[in-house]
């Protein structure tokens, strides 16, 4: 009877120890897997940064100009007389009108402007 009890306790303790050790081993395995994934993620982020840099280099104004020159593509800005400014839309005109009205209103109260903080450059003083 005593022997049976002793063996039972021993088995339970041994099982608990084995479960704990198994847990620790799984933990270490997971950490290795995480490290591999993290390295892969980092490599991809680094690659993305390098690609971004390559795009910036390709969009370099000097390089674009050389490319256009090499392909004999001549681009010039239009002259002022060649540019026709399209009239603004109705909605824009209404906004503009509202703004003008507001400014007109503010004009009435302009006598109180001295109360509002305003930066002013000081005149030059001779030393």
């Amino acid at each position: 009877m005593r022997l049976l009890k002793f063996l039972t306790v021993l088995s339970i303790v041994t099982m608990a120890a084995l479960i704990y050790v198994h847990g620790q081993v799984e933990l270490v395995k997971l950490s290795y897997a995480i490290e591999i994934k993290e390295k892969k993620l980092k490599d991809m982020l680094d690659r993305k940064e390098r690609l971004g840099y390559n795009i910036d280099s390709l969009e370099n104004p000097s390089r674009l100009e050389s490319f256009l020159l090499a392909h004999k593509i001549d681009i010039v800005f239009p002259g002022r007389r060649q540019v026709v400014r399209v009239a603004k839309s109705t909605a824009h005109r209404e906004d503009h009108l509202k703004k003008a009205l507001f400014e007109k209103k503010a004009g009435i109260f302009s006598i109180f402007e001295f109360l509002s903080p305003r930066a002013e450059a000081e005149g030059f003083k001779e030393k």
């Binding site: 933990l27 997971l30 940064e49 390098r50 840099y53 969009e59 370099n60 450059a121 000081e122």
Partner: protein
Amino acid sequence: MHSGIFRARQLSVCLFFFISLILLLLRLSYLEVVRHNFFSNLAQEQHTVSIELFPKRGTIFDRHMRVLAVNLPSESIFANPRQIIDKGGVSKTLASTLGLKEYFVRNRLSRKKSFVWLKRKVSLKEAAEIKRLKIEGVEVIEESKRFYPNGQLACHVLGTVDTDNKGLEGLESFYDRYIKGESGWLISAQDARRRLVESYENSFFPPKNGLNLVLTIDEVIQHVAERELLKMYEKYNAKAASIIVMDPRSGDILALANFPNYDLNNRGRRPVESVRNRAINDFFEPGSVFKIVTASAALEEKVVGLNDKFYCENGEYRVGRRILHDHRPHGVMTFKEVIEKSSNIGTVKVASLFGPERMYKYMRGFGFYEKTGIDLPGEVTGMNRALAKWSRVSMLAIPMGQEVTTTAMQLACAISVISNDGLLMKPRVVKEIVDENGMVVKENPPKAVRRVISSRTAQTMRDILMGAVETGTGKKARIEDYDVGGKTGTAQKVENGAYSHERFIASFIGFAPVKNPCLSVVVCVDEPRPVYYGGDVAAPVFKNVVDESLKYLNAKAPVR
């Protein structure tokens, strides 16, 4: 009797094992209890590693958030000489792979150390080759390297960093404390192969990445300015050249370039003469461009009217032992014509109407006695004498830009006073400092230093300088679609204590559009040959840069 002997032997064996057990238990207690701390720390040292986590250096953007400088991951090669047996063979292999001298590699591998650098921040190809070779004792470690996608664009503004990413010049140096960031730490467990093991006991202090700079520089205007300056620099075999494009309303530097320049990605190969940021590091006698100060002073002090007449002595004017010359003989001219046609004699006569005290006052007002305060390192100010040290003949030289020295940046600020209705603005290169998420951490707002001249005087000066371009010495700065104003200058350099007749500094300072200027430009060319006049050398650069820049900015201006 036999049972007695047997029992005695039994007891001796038991006693022997019992004593051995006691001794083992005592030894165990000694190791586990008495020497606990020692072995615990030893295990901790072997299994725990602390790794410094380097921060990412901040990125530098232009005003439209286009990248001008960025850090990218880069690998470096190191070796543990103690692990390398065949040093000769390994040296030969590494030297050919990394493009190094064999004796250099052998010297490194002969050191009695466990860590030596072989080559820092190598190319992807070199790193891949070293990894492929799998040489015992030679390993690759990751670092980061500074890259500049536009090569030499704005090289003097951006500056450079050293191998350890510490700013050495330009903005990289000036704002180093903001963009370098702070290291973090990772304290982690590692296995026998030095692989990190994730554990709840790990301590992680994240690094603080550097802040990013947003500049006032416009990448496109910078490119246009550099392209046009380079064309002129090569055409006239100049010794050096500088250009500054500024928004006079805010002090924003839209472009700043010097020649000779260098490729930021190949710092090690740059010539010595290309290092200086001449626009702020060098001062020179400005010559006729300085007449804008004299003219502004005369108008502000109300000692002249636009149509007041001055006799310009037909090109030669003797004052005591000194003879003043004009580049072309003139007779009687109005004050306006004196400035438009850049008469030295007429300018000196105008200056005599208000005297040295007021000349000095306006020189100080325009900022020629102080640094502009631009946020770039190494700025100097000209060596100008205090009023008390002026000689009797100083007023024969200073009003026309001799006996006075200035930097190109000071000239840019001076012409901006006229463009900006008389207000002197502090120039700025950095608009704001932002964090990784784009949140503004520190702003650098435009700052008005002082009012130098009245708005009316500034308006009058703009009209006079427009005349200088329309009918005066600056005709080659004229633009078809916009009204521009400016002043030419051709200053003799000093050689062996006297003014040279062979070496000149050609310059042009101007602004556009005249009615509401949004650009101020200074072009300075050191020793152009064979042509050396500011109107011929510098004015066309101004014209091309301003023409393209205004169209790019879609500036609104009355059609001519």
